[in-house]
Amino acid sequence: MTYTGWFVEQFGAGLGWFLANLTLILAIAFPVMVGVALAVYADRKIWAAMQMRRGPNVVGPFGILQTFADAAKLFLKETIIPAGASTGVFLLAPMISFTLALVVWAVMPFDAGLVLADLNVGLLYIFAVSSMGVYGIIMSGWASNSKYAFLGGLRSAAQMVSYEVSMGFILVAVMMYAQSLNLSDIVLAQKGNVLGILNGNIFNPLLFPMGIMFFITALAETNRPPFDLPEAEAELVAGYQVEYSSMSFALFFLGEYANILFMCALIPTLFLGGWLPPLDLPFLYAIPGFVWFLSKMAFLFFLFAWVKATVPRYRYDQLMRLGWKVFLPLSLFWVVVVSGWLMFTGHFAAAPGVM
């Protein structure tokens, strides 16, 4: 009997379905939140190691409870709403940021069949939710009634809209290989896809440049350095979140890291073979898929932290140039190349609806 089936039997169709999904949502959201806390700790430890420092090492064993202590401090602080702020929008913005960062996890397959909502437009759902993420930032920028926050919000809006375009084209290339928008199907399409032994689109020479571009675009989408222009402490104090304090700030912070973790999970799903082991050898499948998935996520997170620790921030015109004049033409051209190659090799011959 399935998990939902048991609940339906116990509580009836409507209530049982509701309770089953509620518990499943909590079973995803709670580990994500704990993961965010550990990711913040890991981030600080990695930067510290790269800068020959110790990093957090006081609260708890190896300082692992540092993030929880910071969160407790933020909880106990006073929420300050500026007198000139547009209160409703000001309070709504962090909630939108945080909620969107959590709902996007609904379609992520953690293992074979281990997914909350197995949508057949899963990739588009992710694209839609991540394109809405800009509202939290732009609304907070406007509602704060402060020039620093406003400039941060405008920068962020322009940046995220620009990079979404090339991100869309990269997703198109991946989608053409898998011939599906369902994330589980995309992962399964990568099983032994290169030379019959390598699992993962990244090993495909035609998709390798797309994988690299997607990583860079993911950095831009999550406002991570070198693309953290919306925050830019040096010129904008803290950008869009400058007027936020206490829990409203914490929601932005948690949402940002939840987004980063999601990108660390999405890149393996699209390019590294998701829950599959990197090589298509039977004994590697003895290790559960969930473990492969988490270790790929951890590896990607290390790359994110590595970039943040080593790369200086872009200037704004350079950021726009990279997005519109380099990534957009390159990804557009590459979609043409990939689709031409697939058409030429008869990849679509078995697709339904071909006339």
């Binding site: 409507g14 547009s86 929008v89 949508l119 057949n120 437009v121 588009l124 759902y125 694209f127 839609a128 394109s131 809405m132 800009v134 509202y135 732009i138 609304m139 406007w142 406003f150 405008l154 809006a157 322009a158 809209v161 979404e164 599906s180 928008l181 015109d317 350079q318 140039r321 697709a351 339904p352 609806g353 071909v354 006339m355």
Partner: protein, 203 residues
């Protein structure tokens, strides 16, 4: 459950549509408009058109409305003046909207679903073994190919028009030339001079 979802989405859609035109602040209007788009996407999902729902969110909520918000946030509008103007133009506005309402009523009263429209089998929904998305794609690129490419051409023309209208060469601005920067060598920019004691260097 589906009925509840329908009334929820439809009610929110109408409410937010009303708030778009009654909100005092234009930024709030745009935010209500975004909520309206979002609920329309919800209605699409109830109809089983999940591809269209996602596209509505991606295109309208994720791109068009962001740019709307972008522009509206930078405008400095005096609402008192706008409202005075609205009262002056009220009779004309009422007349125009009355004519349009009459036309809509005339058309709607004489129309029943399916009449006068050639209902292709395409409208019957995807055949088994095909997802919604594949079905839309296979129809767009075969039966409706000319209509589809025509709309693409119209959009291209609009895009070229927008670029031509906004493109101008500005004088007196500094612009970065990456190629020129990369082409710089120490030989062209650094000069080593020997300064004698008590004298400067001639550069």
């Amino acid at each position: 459950m589906a009925a509840f979802a329908f009334y929820l989405f439809a009610g929110l859609l109408l409410t937010s549509g009303l708030m778009v035109i009654t909100a005092k602040n234009p930024v709030h209007s745009v935010l209500w408009l975004i909520l309206a788009f979002f609920n329309a996407a919800g209605l699409f999902i109830l109809l089983g058109a999940e591809f269209l729902a996602m596209l509505l969110v991606i295109v309208y909520v994720g791109a068009v409305a962001v740019l709307f918000l972008f522009v509206v946030m930078m405008l400095d509008i005096d609402f008192k003046a706008l409202q005075r103007g609205a009262l002056q133009n009220l009779p004309l506005g009422l007349a125009v909207s009355g004519v349009i309402l009459a036309e809509v009523l005339l058309v709607a009263s004489g129309w029943t679903a399916g009449q006068g429209v050639i209902v292709h089998e395409a409208l019957a929904g995807p055949p088994p073994g095909m997802t919604n998305t594949q079905w839309i794609g296979s129809q767009l690129y075969t039966r409706y190919f000319f209509v589809f490419s025509m709309s693409g051409l119209i959009l291209l023309a609009a895009m070229i028009g927008a670029i031509v209208l906004t493109h101008r060469r500005r004088v007196g601005i500094k612009k970065q030339s990456i190629a020129a920067q990369n082409a710089r060598t120490p030989g062209g920019t650094v000069a080593v001079g020997k300064a004698a004691i008590g004298q400067g260097v001639e550069l």
